[in-house]
Structure formats: structure tokens, C-alpha cells
Amino acid sequence: MNKGFKIFAKPYIVWLALLAILPMFVMLILAFMYSEGLSFEEAYFTFFQFQMLGEYSILTAFFNSFLYATITTVISLVLGYFVAYNVHKSKFKNKFLILTILILPMWSNLLLRIEALGNLMEPNNIITQWLNINGDLSIKGTMPAVIIGLVLTYMPFMILSVYTALEKIDYSLEEAALDLGLTPMQKFWKVIFPLSLKGVATGSILVFLPSMSGFAIPEFLGSGNILLIGNVIEAAFRNMDYNLGSLLSVILLFVILGALIIVSKVDKEGETLL
């Protein structure tokens, strides 16, 4: 490619520096200060926010975020891998169409989907009315409700990443494995699964990060009983406590930085991220 075209990328580097890197430093500074919102007139340097970190509610929120995100990732991985593998193996000619069908739910509004799921989890809803169920089956406000919501929302990302990785595996490798006497089960664990690890890694990151940091799903499906770290950050900024909010965001940023490093290791140019 013509070296002269480099000029197109340079403004983008500035844009990323201004909108992605600069605010990280602003948050880092805010985390060490006491200020009224964003006005720095009476601001002073303090470690007060760090004492807040020891608060029971914040520790629980962090613990819950990791717990829920891990459970969601594991469930999505098992189910998503299963779906991706079966679509990959299926004899349908038009696999693109099947994938589209799997992703299509992502195109209607996330909040509406959550609300609809939440209605299904209420003690009285249209389905219980039709099926004439009188007992209380409601799970809204509990851990399974939030996890079901997270899995159903973010699993498509896993399916897509794993499927992309599976499609790249050379079919002759599978034939070779069978020729050399592996059973189908061994073939899967010794050949296919290791080769699809790239997709598993990116898929897990794409599921783990939003489930850890989102605030809408726990807010509506947890009916206020369940606090994740996203909810605490949202509440902090809503109450104009920019300092605590910034500190928590910076901590979250370190987790994301870890994910970024993993991605740059397994996939140098971000090819499986889509």
C-alpha cells in the first residue's frame, strides 16, 4: 500500500489519544481527589475514596461482578460452543443464514428484551395465564434470574467467535485424526478443541467484560436486590460523586487492560474480535 496513505491514520491516533487515553488519566487524577462534581476550585488531594473501597457494599459488588461474570462465561461457553459446533458440523448449505438467525435477537433493543424477560419471571404473566399455572414460579430478583438474563443476552458473541475459529480449521486435519485411529470424542478433545482456543478466548472476553460491568440487567432482573460493580459506578456518578466513580472505573480499567493484553497475545490484529 502507498506510504502516503499513512496520513489518513494519523488523525485517528490523535482522536484515540484524546477520547480514549486522556480520560483515563483524568479519572486517575479524580480518584485521588475530593471535588464537587467536575469543578476543581475547592478540590484537594485525598485518599478518602480508597477507604470507601473497604466498604462492605463495594466489596460485595466486586465479588458479585466476578462471580456472575464467571458463571455467565462458563455457561455461555458450554452452550455457545455446543451450538457453534453443531452449526459448523451441520449439513445445511446456508450456514450464514443460521448464524444470522442466532444473532438476530441482538438487533432489537436490549432494554426491551430485558424487560420482556423480566415479565416472564414475574409471578403473574401472560404465559402462566395461558398455561393456567397458579403456583409462584417467579425468580425475579434472584441470582439465577440475573444469570439467565446475562447468558441469553451475551451468548451470541460466544457463538460467533467460536464459529469463526471452527471454520478456520482445515478439514483434512480431522480426516487425519480419524485415519490415525482416534475416536470421534478423542478427535474433538485432541484436535478440534485446541485449535479453536483462539475463538474461545475472544468469545470469553466478549462475554465476561459486558456481564461484569453492565448495570441495566442486574438493575431490572435483580429488582434492586443484586448490586454489581456497574450499578455502584452508575449510582456514584448519578449522585455526583465523581471521585468514587472514577476510582471504581479505574479499577475496572485494569481488568479490561488484562483482557486487552490477552487479546493482543492470541490475536495480534484483532481478527477474531468480530
Partner: protein, 289 residues
């Protein structure tokens, strides 16, 4: 005197008969995949049911009606929210597609080491938690407040959408750039075409598929975004997600919004299926020729 031995069976050779197990597994996997797909569609199905319910309560079904479809735009605030969403998403998508393609070409012109470093930064908006991205942008835009007092609103919303959609376009264009013949550009230049014209006439046609898939992704992400928009829009400029969030908080969601969502789902579904059908037809005609 020859001794007759019984014939060795397949089992004695170490062959294990898995055919029954295989059949069971096959049925199981089909059922499981169908169940998972139904799970993914559960909320969409519920939305569709709620949109044809004559009662505006979501707990009981009265009778079938299409009145919410007819009244879709009668709620003023919903109508403006839908308009805002569509306008900002379209503007952001067009800008992201054009700029993203140019940026991708630019990034691709760098040597490999630098390119990977830029891609690492390019992944930040993609992997960053929505809430952190939203707050970061809000902080940057707030710092601009002394210079532009009225910046929060459509401008910041479009800029924010541009910020998180650009990486998607870039990520889908670069693999296509890698696939193009590196000699194409040189050939065009040798034939006396100016670099920019060569880019337009030679490179862009070669990477159209990547540009389109990037555009589709950008639009998808932009039209459904809630968290980032929530932090970067100004007072009184709501997009659909923010409007829904507000109404959900007040427990005053009108079924018209279910109707709008259902129509949107049906239209996208039909478009995708239709596109597939046309493509296959096109391919068949091509083969016949």
C-alpha cells in the same frame, strides 16, 4: 488334524459399536440446539405477544389487537426518540464507514510492528466496558464545556457513536485489505493514476464486502446502544434506549414501543432472508451461464 477355532468377532479386534450412542447424541444435540435458539428468542416472542395484547398490562392477555401498531407514533416523546435514534445512527454510521475505510487504509500502510500497536489502541473502545467508555467521553466533553457551552446533545451523541463504531469498521476492512493483491495499487500508479483516484477506483471496489459488513456492524451497535448514549447525550435529547430506560423507571412503558420493536425485528428478518434468497438465485443464474 486341524483344529477349528471360532471366528474372531469385530469386538475382539477392539471395535466398539457406537452407532446407538451416536444416534442418541444426534437427537439430543438437535433438541438442545433448538431449545437454546428458543431461549435466545424468548424475549422477542414475549415482545411480539405483548404488542398484540389489547390490555396495556403485561401480566395478563385480554384479546388480540393491532391498535398499538396504529398508535405507534401517537406518543410524541416516543416518536421524537425514534427519530433521534434513526438520525443519529445513520449519521454516525455514514461517517464511521467513510472515515473508517480511510483510516483502515492508513493503518494498513504502516509497517507491521506499528500496525499492531495501532490495532491494540483500536481495540480499546471495543473492549472497554460501556460504562467506562460513556463516563470517559462525558469527562472529555465536560472539559470542552467552557469553550462550547451547549455541546451536550446531538453533537456529543454522534461523536460518541462515531467513537465506538469506528473500530468495528476498521476491523472488518483490514482483513479485506490483506486479501487484495499488493500489486494492484502499483499497477494503477504505473498506469498513471493519481494515488487518491487509485484508492477510489481500484482499492475500494476490492474491499467493498468488508466495508459493507463494517457498516452493518456499526449500524447495529449504534442503533442499540444505551449506556454510552446515556452518559453523552444532553438534556432533552433522548434516543430510543434512553427513552425506554426512563419509561421503565417510571413503569409507564406504552405497548406501542413493543409494536415498534416487533416491526423492526420482522423487517430485519425479512431483509436478511430476502437478501440470502436473492444471493442464492443470483449464484444459480451465474452457474447456468
Amino acid at each position: 488334524m486341524t483344529k477349528t477355532y471360532p471366528r474372531a468377532t469385530l469386538k475382539e479386534y477392539g471395535y466398539k459399536d457406537y452407532s446407538v450412542l451416536k444416534k442418541i447424541y444426534k437427537v439430543f444435540s438437535i433438541v438442545a440446539v433448538i431449545l437454546i435458539v428458543i431461549g435466545l428468542y424468548l424475549s422477542i416472542i414475549m415482545l411480539a405477544i405483548q404488542s398484540v395484547n389489547s390490555s396495556s398490562s403485561v401480566t395478563s392477555f385480554n384479546s388480540f389487537t393491532l391498535k398499538w401498531y396504529a398508535e405507534m407514533f401517537s406518543v410524541r416523546s416516543l416518536k421524537t426518540a425514534i427519530q433521534n435514534t434513526i438520525v443519529t445512527s445513520i449519521i454516525a454510521t455514514i461517517l464511521a464507514t467513510m472515515l473508517g475505510t480511510l483510516i483502515a487504509v492508513g493503518i494498513y500502510s504502516f509497517e507491521k510492528k506499528k500496525r499492531q500497536a495501532i490495532m491494540l489502541f483500536n481495540n480499546i473502545p471495543l473492549l472497554n466496558a460501556d460504562i467506562v467508555t460513556g463516563i470517559s467521553l462525558m469527562l472529555v466533553f465536560s472539559m470542552l464545556l467552557p469553550i462550547f457551552p451547549y455541546i451536550f446533545g446531538p453533537t456529543t451523541l454522534i461523536m460518541a457513536h462515531l467513537f465506538f463504531t469506528l473500530p468495528y469498521v476498521i476491523l472488518s476492512v483490514i482483513p479485506k485489505l490483506k486479501e487484495t493483491d499488493p500489486n494492484l495499487m502499483d499497477a494503477a500508479l504505473d498506469l498513471g493514476v493519481r494515488p487518491f483516484k487509485a484508492l477510489r477506483k481500484v482499492i475500494v471496489p476490492a474491499i467493498t464486502a468488508g466495508i459493507f459488513s463494517g457498516m452493518l456492524l456499526a449500524f447495529t451497535m449504534s442503533i442499540d446502544d444505551f449506556v454510552i448514549s446515556y452518559y453523552t447525550t444532553g438534556n432533552g435529547f433522548d434516543n430510543l434506549s434512553i427513552w425506554i430506560y426512563g419509561s421503565m423507571g417510571r413503569k409507564s412503558l406504552t405497548p406501542s414501543v413493543y409494536a415498534f420493536s416487533t416491526i423492526l425485528t420482522l423487517v430485519t428478518m425479512l431483509t436478511m432472508v430476502g437478501y440470502q434468497w436473492f444471493q442464492r438465485k443470483g449464484r444459480k443464474v451465474h452457474v447456468k451461464r
